[in-house]
Symmetry: C2
Subunit: 440 residues, 2 copies
């Protein structure tokens, strides 16, 4: 076939392929990520936390799109929130709550999917105030104990009356075992609901940690904000909980990246109900604090990795580990430079062991690095060391690693003790499909 | 057709399409960017600068892949170089030359395509030294007056003897009117050679400014490094030339981004031969300095925009303009955050006037911005103002702007006087194709 004929045939194929893709998408919605876990996990019961979901029709039809959590009196709450200069109204509302003294009364979390209530001017402020009041009435809590989050399109006013209309039903439906329904109700472009939990014993008492989140990887607006809600029935004093959350967030949700874009609505709430009983944990020195933080770290790490596994268009799950940096912060910045590099991510998509792009990403990170001390591994395969390709390295070995669904890229900078891990996914045609065609 | 049948048909189409694409690519090389200019411009003659190109077979076959520039005695040289921690050997060599006092003797520039001589350990250092010596002998200049750049694959030793073998031929072929050959010889994934120039009069003397560059947009390694060489026959004192270059670079090559990835080999050299005659321009206050800098700025801006027009897979040329920032630096960082956002870039590829993503990118830039002062325009269409969609905005108007090949995104932050412009292109399936398949 000559080139002109090949071009013509290709153009015809593309037209037919586009039509088929539209048909398949319409029939199936977003297909479940190939990297999804087999099923939603059985979450342990967190005493003092009850969940409900309902269909308010904010934007979606035929599915739940609002969830409510009611937390018993005495619950302490910590929050990590988007810092974007254009952050959404519910984020600003939560910022305010975080700054207030918390009463001993019950607290609530109200979340909707389909509309982010972001960049909506005064109407957005009014929606938040109206929902706080309505939830306070329905759930019998103070309006200043109603935490909120919204995820979905930007710039359209939130039709908050539709949510108000389902609040009584939500309160009536609250149950300890409905966290999975809540996890489904907050999904947007997510292809699977994300949950994790575990049980532990603290000082002889059974304690549960459970959480769920949404985020289709890009950690960005338009339906792809990251929201996470984590609960424990351990009793934890509020300041300590907030301190723990900062550390936990750095090693879980802040260690996930899909495309480096940051949402206007990212919200992570951590609630400790105290339902397991016992004296409140007040200090980091309390032996229970370490055990609880370790459990929270595992649960939040699991949730965060599920976000990368659901990255838009993802076909590979990538763990970038950087060791030997001058500090933990430096290691994290180098790891992010690798994980966010479009060139590294497309190489992974193409199953190409292109270590030169890793070298480039290390170099551009702006952190201390010396070429002649760099060691790079793909999986267990030593690829490069001391400023050049490793003597025993064979391209076929690197290529074999890249065929897997889960790929490790490890860089040792050889300078110090700083270490960090970042999770991401590859950059595929699927990402371009989803984001170039999203609203049209 | 049911979904399963549609999927099967789609898979078959994709297999056939891939085969056709390989066939077309093999036959045609990379297709010329749809955003390319009609032809290479007629460059003015820069007195005192001669050019030559040759085929050394470093990696490519059947094309020129080495170029030499010889600059008459008295030429001053300024350099802007990659700062990556993993920068290549020729970059380190040029750094050293920049730090030396420059003799009055002739200077040379030797550049090869196909191999970046980066991450090649001691072998890389030896290659650079050997080439400097060989060029010095062939061109009768000091080895410390031989500037060098290499672009191509990373981590493979540079076969420098192949280049040495063509040096005598290069010297014999030097001519004032062969800049276009030189521009072609340094191309890698570029789909067209990039040149720009103009003539001006300084104090009654005819002066020429001409330059060429290569870079297929991603400003990144593996054949996509940005190299630029700009020449004038105006006489300019070296320190002043270097000062000018810093400013010029910020407003030209540093204002181009394709994917935010930074090369290990970026090199920009600016040579002033003095061939036009007259007293050297020594101070910024010299009236000739302003006129010359303005001409250089136009030429370098033109070259930089050509790089974005040749961005890998580009189908749209995008000009991001930010005004009303608290400073020029702040404006540039906001503009880059927009221009490098994968979400903004995929929206442009999809011709989607998705201004929410621009809001997100402004927010994540980490620069002073207030939602209620933001104004966003697509082309001339006012999209958003004061924290919400503009009252008169219709989606159809935004969509019409996005259909064009060239798109302007303008954001006014409403805070100060800082302004900056950044050029980029969209993020398409073509980008994923090129970078996921590049080495395979």
């Amino acid at each position: 076939m000559d080139v002109e004929a090949a071009r013509a045939r290709l153009a015809a194929l593309k037209v037919e392929a586009r039509a088929l893709e539209r048909e398949i998408k319409a029939a199936a919605g977003h297909a479940r990520s190939p990297l999804a876990p087999a099923s939603f996990p059985e979450l342990p019961t967190v005493k003092g936390a009850r969940f409900a979901a309902a269909a308010a029709g904010v934007r979606y039809r035929g599915r739940d799109d609002v969830m409510l959590v009611l937390l018993e009196p005495g619950t302490t709450m910590a929050a990590a929130l988007a810092t974007s200069a254009t952050r959404a109204e519910p984020v600003r509302w939560c910022e305010r709550l975080r700054g207030l003294p918390q009463s001993e009364g019950a607290q609530a979390i109200l979340v909707n999917a389909g509309n982010a209530n972001a960049f909506t001017g005064d109407a957005g402020v009014e929606s938040v105030a109206a929902l706080a009041e309505a939830t306070a009435r329905a759930a019998r809590v103070s309006s200043e104990a109603v935490w909120m989050a919204s995820t979905g399109v930007i710039g359209e006013p939130l039709p908050h009356r539709r949510i108000e209309a389902v609040l009584d039903g939500l309160v009536a439906g609250l149950a300890e075992d409905r966290a999975d329904d809540a996890a489904r109700a907050i999904m947007t472009t997510d292809t699977f609901p994300k949950g994790a939990g575990e049980r532990l014993t603290l000082d002889g008492r059974d304690v549960a940690v459970a959480g769920f989140c949404k985020g289709s990887g890009m950690i960005a607006p338009d339906m792809a904000t990251m929201l996470a809600f984590v609960f424990t029935d351990a009793p934890v004093e509020r300041d300590l909980l907030q301190t723990m959350l900062g550390r936990l967030c750095d090693r879980s949700f802040n260690a996930v990246t899909v495309d480096g874009d940051a949402s206007t609505s990212d919200t992570l709430l951590l609630a400790a109900t105290g339902g397991a009983g016992g004296e409140p944990i007040r200090e980091a020195g309390d032996p229970r604090a370490g055990a609880l933080e370790a459990a929270l770290s595992r649960v939040m790490g699991d949730l965060a990795r599920q976000v990368a596994r659901d990255g838009e268009g993802a076909s590979k799950f990538v763990t970038v580990r950087v060791t030997g940096a001058v500090s933990e912060g430096s290691a994290r910045r180098v790891a992010k430079a690798i994980a966010e590099s479009p060139l590294v991510k497309t190489a992974v998509a193409g199953e190409d062991p292109n270590w030169g792009r890793v070298v480039m990403a290390v170099g551009k990170a702006g952190e201390p690095a010396e070429r002649d001390r760099l060691t790079i591994r793909f999986g267990d395969v030593l690829v490069a060391e001391r400023g050049w390709v490793a003597p025993g390295y064979r391209e076929a070995d690197g290529a074999a690693v890249m065929k897997a669904d889960e790929i490790g890229i490890t860089v040792d900078l050889g300078l110090g003790e700083g270490e960090a891990t970042v999770w991401t996914c590859d950059l595929t045609h699927g990402y371009v499909d989803i984001n170039a065609d999203y609203r049209s």
